[in-house]
């Protein structure tokens, strides 16, 4: 029986066109993804961070692609495996089926297995499509490696087949027991939530394993296993079938089988035979009563007839006025609305969404696993983003339900023949769907308020909730409602409709931008972007947003009219007839609305176009690229043209926050520091700014003036001799005209201007402006260029990385702003005065600084303090006082440590200045540190929580450290430059943090640093470099730098290290070109290292060295004197990696920590041992009962499996048991 049903299912499915359509769609998806990954094309391309190093058909990449496409496969599984039993109910076949002599096992098992096999077959099209992509003529040969069958089989075995069983079992069971396909939509949502929750959890390092197990699709376990793979490993390693991946797959498959078991247990043929309606039918008593009543009525009627009495209906007045039409509209809307709202699945989706939001809110704004205060903008943006998918599902699904409601109930012929205005049906559905969006926004708002309340945060800012949810988000969802209904009306097939709405959505959001239609005018519902900041509110974004929304509303109105014209009323479904009917309906009011829609659409469209493309320059990414190519081709020849350097900057900067305009009048003193006279001077400025004046203090003329690139060449009549100077005076003006296609400049804003020196003119051709990306350079026939100049090229020692056109400068600035704001620039406030309703500030620096400064202006609160003779000032937004004291404390502790261990502080003030969260960083300018409101001003640091990392303190300490590392010693612009600047700022702040919070806290911080480093190298697009040769790679100079410097400190001691650093600072601080570099720095570190440990300098800084350390077990014996003798078996492996991550094992000859700990984590023993073999037995005696032992237990060395460095008794016990088995 089983076999027959199984075979029948197979045959039935194979004959269904849908099966082949799904197959085709996924084959196409697979092919397209490979085409985009490996293809040579501009139209579509998928960029992975590591794409230039990982082959398109590398086992890792194939796995990644299969998994990402297979997520959509869930829908197909729902359609195929969910359906087979439900089908019998749907077609009312079940009485026929169930009266046949079939067994439950045969029926359920056959149907399930048959459809599962089909689902697997359909999804096999993914690897097939990917493979086809690799052999297609468009695939670039250098991106395709040798064919490896296993690379296709592994993802199939690990993901496709288990997922069919898992999701299939869930869908099959739900549809079978509920006898409806609708629970499956909810099931999809639940799986999606689990998937999303798992990826949310994974952000926290401690949850990785949990996240990997929780994800029903398996993506997280895959991520967890491969997260540290280097490009080389990605190219060769197959996914190991074992570990977390296998556990996840087994766990979920078991879950699926249990669900199937429940299905088998609960399913009854008899139960099935009775119709579902029966539950609702009348009881026998009621039926009797009914019969009786009927008889009575009949008798009465007979009597009436006999007496010749005729029945007459009460006369009613019919009203077809506009008022009645309106009442009808309300009535229809109410019915549509309540039928959705009362729908159990709607309620389920909304609750699932709320639950999801609650779960996600625990990760709100976390940095280093440390939360922020749930300020309203953070909550609304989280909720808006996270709830979006639920909104989308509800819109797509219920748009279809609504359009088909009357027809689904077979009531359409009745209502369609009623004297109801043609527009009412569609209008009522649209209004109801829109009202549902309002309802959902209310739900989101309440959820947000609950989340805030639960975290003990009561500053709700209801006005902001309303502005964001009902002002910004709602209109977008409304637009989408129109689109979804429009598609459903036009397509006139519910299921195809759902599919097409998704397709149209993708078309607008993904395909159009990739086809060159990037402009927001082409992308339904899109706008330049709204970006709320507590400091600047919605800033200047609201105007353009409103214009775009008006534009799309006009378009939506046209869609509404068209939907209404094509709305199916009556039984005509042929498109030809519908078109004819549409013309017939195209009467006065429809024409009026079309006119209105067209006027709004075209009118605002033209206005927007005028603003974005005429008043402002609109450039696509490609045009920008071409301009950069032109830049290189035209001016690249001046690369080595000797240019003078700036030695003094004087600037009058007028900031006009209300109009977001800025005017600069400045003077540079340029000095010829070369040995040759020069007469041509290259001045560059940002091309979107007007250079209204450029004059030299000696006769000169402009020989080139490229306004598009902002490039001017001045030629002086007399050459500037070596050692001579000239003054360059200039004026810049920037005033926004209209609005732009993107959010536009966020430098000068209503409140929170942050203008850095990159706004100012620069001298000389800039190689940094050239295109760096290898593939792009290939495309334009430009030769490859190194990421960074070679460390061994001494000619590069003459510029510093902060500005190529200056060494040390004298600086003075007068900054003015509006009356109510404070303007800030580096230097000391010499004078401030008010004139013409404006506030002027004159700042002057008393020591030479690097050519790296900024101007800020906002309405600030100021908190002042003092450390010795140094003034501390925090300029912050009024509502953000949370961490101001913490910042001051950090500044003081930093100054303490740095002045004591390094060199004196060169300034007499430290200022922290908050700026809007358009950018999330802090940056150290001379005695001036702008700090984004997004990264710490609202951090919620619980000092009592041992898990919480005070990253506000850390970031401040890091930035203050830059006053030494960066602003005292800067180094040359070459490989390794950021080791001196960033790694050392990291080290310095680590030390301040360690003093403040203790070594234990460092462990957690360094764990993040280690993880970020290992993941960073895994996603490296070009070459991983040793720290000494770092090419501005953040994962190296920050994350790896922290780990390595902390290890170095551990090896040679804090004092000797700091002594070496002090010596290095003293020698190189404020030096003029040539600058020092990492070669000298590492040499200095090596000198400070005792001979026995010199090898670590090579390991840490000059090479990429990794360890695979592991504790395999220990035994302990209590001695007669109460001490314990512990024998620990450890394994050590040392590896050297090249820039691609190819590893080579080298001999271990290292001093590594061996540790013994008690059950409550107290250290019994921690000493360095000389390890020289792969496996070593170590014997130590300790005063206490050992519970945990290990090698490098504090994870000071780079190790991809830090957790196996220690072993405790519990782990050991589990190991022995599993070995016995």
């Amino acid at each position: 029986m089983f076999t027959e049903i199984f075979l029948f299912e197979l045959k039935y499915r194979i004959k269904r066109p849908a099966t082949w359509i799904y197959f085709g769609v996924f084959l196409g998806l697979g092919f397209l993804m490979m085409f985009a990954t490996a293809g040579k094309n501009d139209a579509v391309s998928v960029a992975f961070g590591d794409s230039s190093r990982v082959l398109a058909n590398a086992p890792y990449r194939l796995l990644q692609l299969v998994v990402s496409i297979a997520i959509y496969g869930t829908l197909i599984i729902s359609a195929i495996v969910g359906n087979p039993v439900y089908r019998d109910f749907e077609h009312r076949m079940h009485p026929l089926m169930f009266t046949k002599p079939i067994t439950k096992f045969g029926y359920l098992g056959g149907r399930f297995l048959g459809s599962s096999v089909i689902a697997v077959m359909v999804l096999l099209s993914i690897p097939l499509g990917l493979w086809l992509g690799t052999v297609s003529p468009w695939a670039q040969p250098d991106k395709i490696g040798a064919f490896n069958l296993m690379a296709y089989i592994t993802p199939t075995l690990l993901f496709i087949i288990p997922n069919v069983i898992i999701s299939g079992a869930i869908f099959f069971t739900m549809a079978t027991l509920w006898r409806s396909m609708v629970p499956n939509y909810v099931g999809c949502v639940v799986l999606l939530i689990l998937y999303a929750v798992a990826s949310g959890l994974a952000a926290d390092l401690d949850n990785k394993t949990l996240a990997a197990l929780l994800d029903p699709i398996g993506t997280q376990s895959f991520e967890e296993i491969t997260r540290y793979w280097t490009p080389a490993e990605k190219n060769t390693n197959l996914m190991p079938i074992g570990g977390l991946v296998l556990m996840n797959r087994l766990l979920w498959t078991a879950f699926g089988l249990i669900i199937l078991g429940i299905c088998f247990w609960r399913f009854k043929f008899t139960h099935v035979l009775s119709d579902r309606k029966r539950k609702n039918t009348l009881t026998p008593q009621q039926e009797d009563l009914l019969l009786l009543a009927e008889k009575e009525a009949e008798a009465k009627e007979e009597k009436q007839r006999a007496s010749g009495q005729r029945f007459s209906f009460p006369k009613v007045a019919l009203n077809f006025s506009a008022g009645q039409t309106f009442r009808q509209l309300l009535q229809l809307t109410r019915i549509e609305f309540s039928s959705v709202v009362k729908n159990v699945f709607f309620i389920a989706i909304v609750f699932a969404g709320m639950l999801f939001l609650f779960l996600m809110s625990t990760q709100l704004g976390k940095i280093f696993d440390t939360p922020v205060f749930p300020v309203t903008y953070n909550v609304t943006s989280l909720l808006g983003r996270m709830f979006g998918i639920f909104m989308l599902i509800v819109i797509i699904f219920y748009a279809g339900e609504m359009i088909w409601r009357e027809r689904g109930a077979k009531m359409n012929q009745i209502t369609d023949a009623m004297p109801v205005n043609n527009g009412l049906f569609f209008a009522s559905k649209l209004l109801a769907l829109m009202a549902i969006q309002v309802l959902m926004m209310v739900v989101v708002m309440l959820t947000g308020i609950l989340i805030q309340t639960f975290s003990g945060y009561y500053n709700y800012e209801l006005d902001l909730y309303i502005k964001v949810l009902f002002g910004e988000k709602l209109i977008y969802w409304w637009l989408l409602c129109v689109l979804a209904l429009f598609v459903h009306v036009l397509v006139n097939n519910k299921y195809v409709g759902h599919f097409l709405v998704i397709l149209v959505y993708i078309l607008f959001n993904v395909a159009f931008p990739n086809m060159g239609l990037q402009h927001n005018l082409f992308r339904f519902g899109s706008d330049p972007g709204m970006f709320y900041s507590d400091m600047n509110g919605f800033g200047h974004f609201t105007g353009p947003f409103a214009w775009f929304m008006l534009y799309w509303s006009g378009f939506a109105l046209l869609l509404v009219v068209k939907s209404n014209l094509f709305f199916v009323r009556g039984t005509e479904t042929a498109f030809k007839v519908r078109r004819k009917l549409a013309w017939a309906r195209f009467g006065g009011s429809m024409k009026l609305l079309t006119g209105a829609g067209a006027v709004i659409f075209l009118g605002t469209g033209s206005w927007i176009f005028y603003n974005t493309n005429v008043l402002n320059e609109y450039t696509t990414g490609k045009e920008t690229e071409k301009e950069l190519v032109r830049y290189e081709n035209t001016y690249g020849k001046y690369r080595h043209s000797p240019q003078p350097k700036i030695v003094e900057v004087k600037a009058d900067v007028d900031i006009f926050p209300e109009s977001r305009a800025v005017k600069v009048a400045g003077t540079y003193i340029l000095k010829n520091k070369t040995k040759t006279p020069s007469d041509s001077f290259h001045v560059q400025y940002v091309s979107s700014i007007t250079l209204s004046k450029l004059e030299f203090s000696r006769p000169a003329k402009r020989v080139a003036d490229d306004k598009k690139l902002g490039y001017v060449i001045m030629k002086t009549d007399q050459p500037l001799l070596p050692g001579d100077s000239l003054a360059m005076t200039f004026a810049l003006e920037s005033k926004p005209e209209g609005f732009t296609e993107t959010t536009g400049g966020t430098q000068v804003v209503y409140n929170g201007t942050f203008l850095s020196s990159s706004f100012m003119p620069t001298i000389g051709y800039s190689e940094d402006a050239e295109i760096g990306d290898k593939d792009t350079r290939d495309k334009y026939g430009l030769p490859h260029k190194p990421h960074s100049p070679s460390l061994y090229d001494t000619t590069t020692y003459y510029t510093n990385p902060l500005s190529a056109d200056a060494d040390w400068i004298r600086f003075e600035a007068t900054v003015s702003t509006s009356d109510d704001q404070i303007a800030i620039a580096p230097g000391y406030l010499k004078k401030d005065w008010k004139a013409n309703g404006r506030h002027y500030f004159n700042y002057k620096m008393d020591v030479p600084i690097l050519n790296f400064y900024s101007f800020l202006s906002a309405r600030y609160e100021v908190k002042r303090d003092k450390w010795n003779e140094v003034n501390i000032e925090i300029f912050y937004h009024k509502a953000h006082a949370y961490n101001v004291d913490r910042m001051i404390r950090s500044i003081k502790k930093s100054l303490d440590y740095y002045t004591k261990n390094f060199t004196p502080y060169q300034h007499k003030q430290v200022r922290i200045i908050e700026f809007p969260r358009y950018q999330a960083f802090a940056q150290s300018f001379p005695n001036t540190i702008p700090y984004s409101e997004g990264i710490g001003f609202i951090a919620n640091i619980d000092d009592k929580d041992p898990e919480s990392i005070d990253y506000v303190f850390y970031v401040i300490a890091h930035e203050v450290a830059h006053q030494w590392w960066g602003h005292q010693v800067v180094g040359a612009k070459t490989q390794g430059a950021t080791m001196i600047i960033e790694t050392m700022a990291q080290y310095s702040s680590l030390m301040v943090m360690e003093k403040e919070y203790g070594a234990e806290k460092m462990k957690k911080f360094l764990k993040y640093e280690m993880d970020n480093y290992l993941r960073g190298r895994s996603g490296e697009a070009e070459n991983e470099r040793p720290l000494m040769l770092v090419e501005n790679q953040q994962y190296i100079h920050y994350n790896k730098g922290s780990v390595l410097m902390y290890a170095l400190k551990d090896y040679i001691g804090e004092d000797s290290l700091n002594k070496a650093l002090r010596g290095f600072l003293q020698k190189n601080a404020f030096q003029a070109a040539p600058y020092t570099q990492s070669l000298e720095f590492v040499q200095c570190l090596r000198k400070a290292t005792p001979d026995s440990l010199k090898y670590i300098i090579t390991d840490l800084f000059e090479t990429i060295t990794l360890y695979e350390n592991k504790a395999s077990g220990f035994t302990s014996k209590k001695q007669s004197d109460g001490t314990y003798k512990v024998t620990i078996t450890v394994e050590a492996q040392k590896l050297r990696a090249d820039s691609l991550g190819n590893e080579k094992e080298i001999a271990v000859n290292d001093w590594i920590d061996i540790g013994v700990f008690t059950r409550d984590k107290k250290t019994l023993y921690l000493e360095k041992h000389h390890i020289t073999a792969k496996t070593t037995e170590i014997e130590v005696t300790v005063n206490g009962k050992p519970f945990e032992c290990g090698i490098d237990p504090l994870n000071k060395l780079i190790d991809r499996h830090p957790d196996d460095n220690t072993i405790d008794q519990a782990k050991q016990y589990v190991n022995t048991i599993s070995k016995k088995k």
Binding site: A297, F313, P314, A317, L318, A409, A417, M418, G570, T571
Partner: protein, 295 residues
Amino acid sequence: MELRIEQLSKTYSNGVHALKGVSLTMPTGMFGLLGPNGAGKSTLMRTLATLQEADSGSATLDGVDLLRQKEEVRRMLGYLPQEFGVYPKVSAETLLDHFAVLKGVANRGERKELVAALLRQTNLYDVRKKNLGTFSGGMKQRFGIAQALIGNPKLIIVDEPTAGLDPAERNRFHNLLSEIGENVIIILSTHIVDDVTDLCSNMAIINKGEVLLTGQPKKLITSLAGKVWMKEIEKPEVADYRARHSVISSRMHMGMVVIHVISDTQPDASFVQAQPNLEDVYFAAIAAHTTPVNV
């Protein structure tokens, strides 16, 4: 008042020629549309009920163009489709009230009164609070009638209303229809001949999209007087008789086959004259337009 249909034609996109130049005139009172399944009755009714487009032809009622002035038609129309459903989770009273709003009964009090009266008349008053999903076929059908009667319709179109009803229910239904008065036009489509005999003052027989016959049932029956002959034969003989005579109908009676034959004269002595009824009219009309098939 008179509904005049002229040369109405309709071909579906799948090529089915559902109406072929149908012309009919319907006075007030009940008009029966008789025809086998697939004759085009429903197409005709849906077209009159504004739900479907005609390719050509016209239909007017009191100066209102039924094919174009849909809004006007709907204001005076009561329509009960052949197959219909209702929202299962709504009570009869609520849904009827909803329909009344859609039909333009604006006054709340009037609407309430009307709904109550309709429910009483259709004998659904006692179950008015019950969800429609719990209704039996007959109850649902009565609900359908109730909604068709809202708003004093001048043209009532009921498509196969008695299909699926038991004899008692059918009877009640007929009574109800006959109550509605002579001042409106009621078009009743059916394939049950007795429905027409019992109720209709005028009728038409259509088949394959064509009107075969139209007139008053009584007159049509009279026209066959003396021409219908009947005989009981054995089953195997049927084919033979069909070949030799114009057999209009045959039915089983106690193991024998009773055939009706149309003939101006007695075909032979074994035939006895039968009292013609509407069924004979119907079968005669259908038979006359069907090419005889020789077996």
